[in-house]
Point group: C2
């Protein structure tokens, strides 16, 4: 590189030469993280149709709903019915959030494959979100693991506000490590790292992953980024370079942020899949079918979704020379 360039860096944060056949798992969380924030109740039939369209597009993991109290999150009060309606395509894994034993008992009677626990790494956010301290929250989890195991379900351990807390500011990676260790000691391998309010940055992603590699190298991280500040996919590039191959996203970029009117929600599934394919990864997902599912979701929601690829089309959506007006520059 010419003058003015930054000197060489000691390590990779995004993949340069992706090995042939390298696979990234995309977990669709829109039906939970997206629908829960909508004002209008999305009809159960429509939720099921969207999940089925996503599965048919090749998505292999869908977070379909949440077994929280229907009073706290009325939009997901139809958890059992949604799960009952989803057709099982080969290899499809269905997950749902489960906050406590009561939720686990409900989930155990459904076709859900994975129960997702979640605990905030910030004390203030924890109290605000589930009205309990971190320790009180963690104490609810051993019975969930027992119920899940008895029902033949797997358990995933989630951490919220991993990359920052809107109330407390910076979150110490050791607060994340502490919760991860608790999960590991319960026999949990899958660790979901939630960027709950879109505060993740390249620096914080690297710091958290380094702390976890050191403390709980046996756990498999999934990165759950929000695009609240526009840098969600830049963070994915950092995650990929750090070797993380599992990402959560929402169809159409469904969702939002309770802290910022107009801010977007999760990173968008189609945009993520487009980026992954164009970086050299395989996902098993058909981008055109995924875009069709996003369009269906947009119709169901009744407002424009922030996804970009659904508007512009894939890279080779070619145009006729007669198509467009001249625009110099």
């Amino acid at each position: 590189m010419p003058a003015n360039a930054v000197p060489d860096h000691p390590a990779a944060t995004a993949p340069v030469s992706v090995p042939e056949g390298a696979f990234v798992e995309v977990c669709e969380v829109g039906p939970r993280d997206g629908f829960q924030i909508e004002r209008a109740f999305i009809p159960t039939k429509e939720k099921i149709a969207i999940a089925n369209a996503l599965a048919k597009a090749g998505i292999k993991k869908i977070q379909a709903t949440s077994f929280v109290s229907p009073r706290a999150v009325p939009q997901l009060a139809d958890a059992e019915d949604v799960l009952a309606g989803i057709e099982r395509t080969p290899g499809l894994v269905l997950t749902a959030l489960v906050p406590n034993a009561r939720g686990a008992e409900r989930a155990a009677r459904t076709q859900v494959d994975v129960m997702g626990l979640f605990c905030s790494a910030s004390e203030t956010h924890s109290r605000k979100n589930v009205n309990a301290s971190i320790d009180e929250t963690l104490a609810r989890f051993p019975p969930v693991v027992e119920i899940a195991t008895a029902a033949g379900k797997r358990v995933q351990g989630g951490v919220a506000t991993v990359f920052g807390c809107p109330f407390e500011g910076e979150v110490d990676p050791q607060a994340v490590v502490r919760i991860a260790r608790f999960y590991r000691d319960l026999g949990i391998v899958d660790l979901n790292l939630g960027d709950t309010t879109g505060m993740a940055t390249p620096r914080t992603v690297r710091a958290v992953l380094a702390a976890l590699r050191e403390a709980v190298p046996e756990m498999k991280p999934t990165l759950h980024f929000h695009n609240t500040r526009g840098v969600g996919l830049a963070n994915v590039m950092v995650g990929l370079a750090e070797g993380v191959t599992r990402y959560d996203s929402s169809v159409g970029g469904l969702g939002g942020c309770p802290f910022a009117a107009g801010a977007t929600g999760n990173i968008c599934t189609e945009d993520l899949v487009y980026l992954l394919h164009e970086t050299g990864y395989e996902t098993g997902i058909d981008l055109d079918a995924l875009i069709a599912a996003a369009e269906r979701t947009e119709r169901a929601i009744g407002r424009e979704l922030p996804g970009q690829v659904m508007k512009a089309g894939p890279r080779f959506a070619r145009h006729s020379v007669d198509d467009v007006a001249t625009a110099a520059g």
Copy 2:
């Protein structure tokens, strides 16, 4: 990293350990690339006020306008007046696009510092955009360099459709190299790589930069990404890892794509600056003042701009515990 991880990669594509004080130059192109696509004419006074607000926020390079035919781009017919109105903060560099000798003669009489040439790397796009072949376009440039040199102005060489053409599809990096060599032989050092319709991807960014490093290592590249498909800032991470330290962006994410209704324009300046700061780079820009300039631009345009940081605020826009409704998960 645990099982399921991609093996280590041989080289960096995003900076892991950014050297202390590493600086990235952000060039604001909204006043040209953004305003030119607006339907309504933005009042000259407002254009000047926005440019001045951007300069006061610490932006050191502004592409203020374009000396194309006022018939082709009526929105920028006030090029001379806009340039006359911008206050020169210390170190501020003003640039403008100049398609030919006639434009250069106009630009020479203004306080512009840099004349920006541009030529498409795609034959079809070139004919569509400036009604001339690539060779015909390049033939117009030597007189521009003469006029600029006589007037004491610098010249920057721009290439359009570097990362793909909406008509022709993939663009051969050697087509970019050919134009870069032409610029170099005219004594031009600054090379602007335009992602005209948002087709850049990590793969194409790396391929083009590698070809240019090989052919014209003495030239200094600027990456000009559009966020048409949502991956603009992911491409910046790749550029940073490849050692490129100069990026174009537009305030608020101003602009659009003539090929896709609803698609966004350039990468957003505030979101880029936020990402750079949070990756460890210095820009000399005050993010809060930049957000204020974006809000002013949004009012001038009269519609919501796609920028995210202007909606969500910087990372530590903290909230009171009483601020928000509980949202589980």
